[in-house]
């Protein structure tokens, strides 16, 4: 069985008149298997949202291939792409901004069905909408309300209902809980887990929140400046991060247990501008382990044990990189 999603050598550069081009994605290769939750983690400007949009084909890659169930999406005629869109849905960060404030919740949730299954009768549409609202934990009378009358958590439930109504195989979740309060976030995370179990969904979970990523994902891809620097199962990456960037990122996480203040790896300087092109490793300018080899040429991901891959020539030495603990 081929992987559900397979990206090979994907590049994307945004060109702006009179300004330096932004290298958003560089040579991205990634696979996703059916039923898993793959988290894309990285800081602002790492390219994680661009990658999500390329998989959704809301953006076209400049080069490279994106396959969904073995089919090359870039070669697909519009008609078949429309069908594929129903199999591949999205939920975005700001629920309110992604919902049309003038439409009722019922119309918003029904909209994808009107496009993808135009043959349905009004009664069938209504039935499917009500089932979906129930699946996401909204009362039937929510269908008649406007998004502005709902709380942030309820709005995000509407976004999720709209995503599942076409019975997709996969959902790209782009920071779905980042704008929600902690107690609301817990409900949404549990709902997503429940829907995944019931409907056999595959999730691409884009997030910058390390606590959430560790909780929800089965596999992780760490992005930095348009490249994937490390991939592996959640335990491989969290228990034994091998890219110096991954280690810096994970060690910057603040534990909510005051007794735990693990040592932190600090990188020097700030993230380079995405307009910079890098001949070698993208972290070379900030990395404490940098050697001449790091800037001599492209650093490709190499396999460690299991599913663990890392794009670092000195990955074996990363575990020695630790800084003293923070003082209270």
């Amino acid at each position: 069985m081929p992987p559900l999603v397979e990206l090979a050598g994907v590049n994307k550069t945004f060109r702006r008149p009179g300004q330096a081009p932004i290298h958003a994605l560089n040579d991205i290769s990634l696979t996703m298997n059916e039923g898993e939750t793959l988290a894309l983690i990285g800081e602002s400007g790492s390219g994680k949202s661009t990658l999500g949009r390329i998989i959704l084909r809301l953006l076209e890659a400049d080069s490279g291939t994106v396959r969904f169930e073995g089919t090359d999406l870039s070669a697909l005629p519009d008609r078949e792409m429309r069908y594929l869109r129903s199999r591949l849905q999205a939920v975005f960060q700001e629920p309110y901004e992604s919902l049309d404030p003038r439409l009722s919740v019922g119309s918003i949730v029904a909209e994808p069905l009107r496009v993808h299954e135009p043959g349905l009768s009004q009664a069938e549409l209504r039935e499917r909408v009500l089932t979906c609202l129930e699946q996401v934990g909204l009362p039937p009378d929510a269908a008649g309300r406007k998004p502005g009358a709902l709380s942030g958590g309820q709005q995000q439930r509407v976004g999720i209902a709209r995503a599942i109504i076409t019975r997709p195989q996969m959902i790209v979740l782009d920071e779905p809980t980042s704008s929600l309060d902690l107690s609301v976030r817990a409900h949404i995370l549990e709902l997503l887990a429940e829907l995944q179990r019931e409907l056999g969904l595959t999730y691409l979970f884009i997030s910058h929140d390390i606590h959430t990523v560790e909780y929800v994902s089965s596999r992780i891809a760490v992005m930095y400046l348009g490249r994937i620097v490390e991939t592996g199962t959640v335990r491989e990456v969290f228990d034994d991060p091998r890219h110096p960037y991954t280690r810096a990122l994970l060690s910057a996480r603040l534990s909510t247990d005051p007794r735990e203040s693990p040592p932190q790896l600090r990188l020097t300087g700030d993230i380079a501008a995405p307009t910079t092109s890098h001949h070698g490793c993208v972290l070379a300018g900030r990395c404490p382990l940098v050697t001449a080899e790091c800037t001599a040429g492209p650093v490709r991901p190499r396999a460690l044990t299991g599913d663990h891959e890392v794009a670092c020539v000195r990955a074996d030495e990363t575990p020695d990189l630790l800084a003293p603990a923070v003082s209270r």
Binding site: A186, L189, I210, S255, T256, R266, I271, V326, R328
Partner: protein, 327 residues
């Protein structure tokens, strides 16, 4: 023992909203001692930002403060100062860092001039050269390499992290004893957040200074604050040393909040219901409708009760633990 650097007592804020009145902050009391960082934590709408804006006298005209005091050692009750005195105190004795650094910076003046205006407002006759030396030194302390380039530029040329460093440098410039920071690192990337918090914590604890840090991020409180004040529906529900409150929370809301932090392999605590409507002042405990331990006593509002161990909890379970456990 010296009196607290900041002592807030029975502070309430009401905000007019159309025909109704929102009881945003109700009878909040807290202390900040020299050399410590006190965290104020809670979810959206709990009143934490409104509370510190009231202390700083930065509330919008729709808001009024019917009761309370906020005594800053050496400066008196901030809520009772006349405007002239308030201007002298704000900036010089108490600094402020808001969530949006760009809102605190003037887009049309070079930063150099903004630093100078700040210094000159409090120390008349300070020369441009002197204020620039002070600014450069402070920018260096907040980790900005090449302060001169920043001082000769404008706010819009800065990244979010750099802009927040500049605002922090301004807030500490005149050596205030207290800095109030409202979500200073929200919206910043995690590695930048750590750098800024480390830097702020070092400044805030030095030389008998102190900080009141408002945040929704429990990790920030756990790692940087000595004491914490937990707010719900405009009231303090629990306060005490972080080392105790976060490892053995006593108020059911504090317990639920800590239980909602994702931890691998552990089910998430899911609080039922939603935050109450603050247009209605409830007579009982505001958390009771969502509380799994609620019992008949909760129809009367519990007063914050000091436990003698530096902890205060506003919950009837504190008085009748055996009684409640039997339910």
């Amino acid at each position: 023992m010296a009196p607290p650097l900041l002592s807030v007592r029975d502070l309430s804020v009401r905000i007019r909203s159309g025909e109704s009145i929102v009881h945003a902050v109700n009878d909040v009391s807290l202390d900040v001692e020299e050399g410590e960082i006190v965290g104020v934590v809670g979810e959206s709408g709990c009143g934490k930002s409104t509370m510190v804006k009231a202390v700083l006298r930065l509330l919008a005209p729709e808001a009024e403060v019917p009761s309370g005091s906020a005594v800053l050692a050496g400066s008196g009750d901030l809520l009772a100062l006349d405007h002239k005195r308030l201007r002298q105190v704000r900036g010089a004795h108490v600094g402020y860092v808001s969530q949006n650094p760009f809102g605190a910076l003037n887009p049309i003046y070079r930063l150099d001039r903004q630093f100078h205006n700040l210094v000159a407002a409090h120390r008349k006759g300070t020369s441009r050269g002197e204020s620039r030396r002070m600014a450069a030194k402070m920018l260096d302390a907040v980790g900005i390499a090449g302060p001169d380039r920043v001082l000769d530029g404008y706010a819009h040329q800065l990244s979010g992290g750099m802009a927040q460093r500049v605002v922090i440098a301004m807030s500490f410039l005149l050596d205030p004893r207290l800095v109030i920071a409202d979500e200073p690192t929200t919206g910043l990337d995690v590695t930048v957040q750590r750098q800024i918090l480390d830097m702020v914590a070092e400044l805030a604890r030095a030389d008998g200074r102190a900080m009141l840090l408002v945040t929704h991020d429990l990790g920030v409180v756990a790692q940087y604050c000595r004491r914490v004040v937990v707010m719900y529906a405009g009231r303090v529900v629990e306060s005490g040393p972080v080392a105790d409150v976060f490892t053995s929370p006593r108020h059911p809301y504090t317990q639920a909040l800590l239980g909602a932090v994702p931890r691998p392999g552990q089910p998430l605590e899911r609080l039922p219901g939603a935050v109450p409507d603050l247009r209605v002042l409830s007579e009982g405990c505001a958390f009771a409708p969502r509380c799994r331990s609620a019992f008949d006593a909760c129809s009367v509002r519990p007063e914050p009760t000091p436990g003698g161990d530096g902890r205060t909890v506003a919950c009837h379970l504190e008085k009748e633990p055996a009684d409640a456990a039997a339910r």
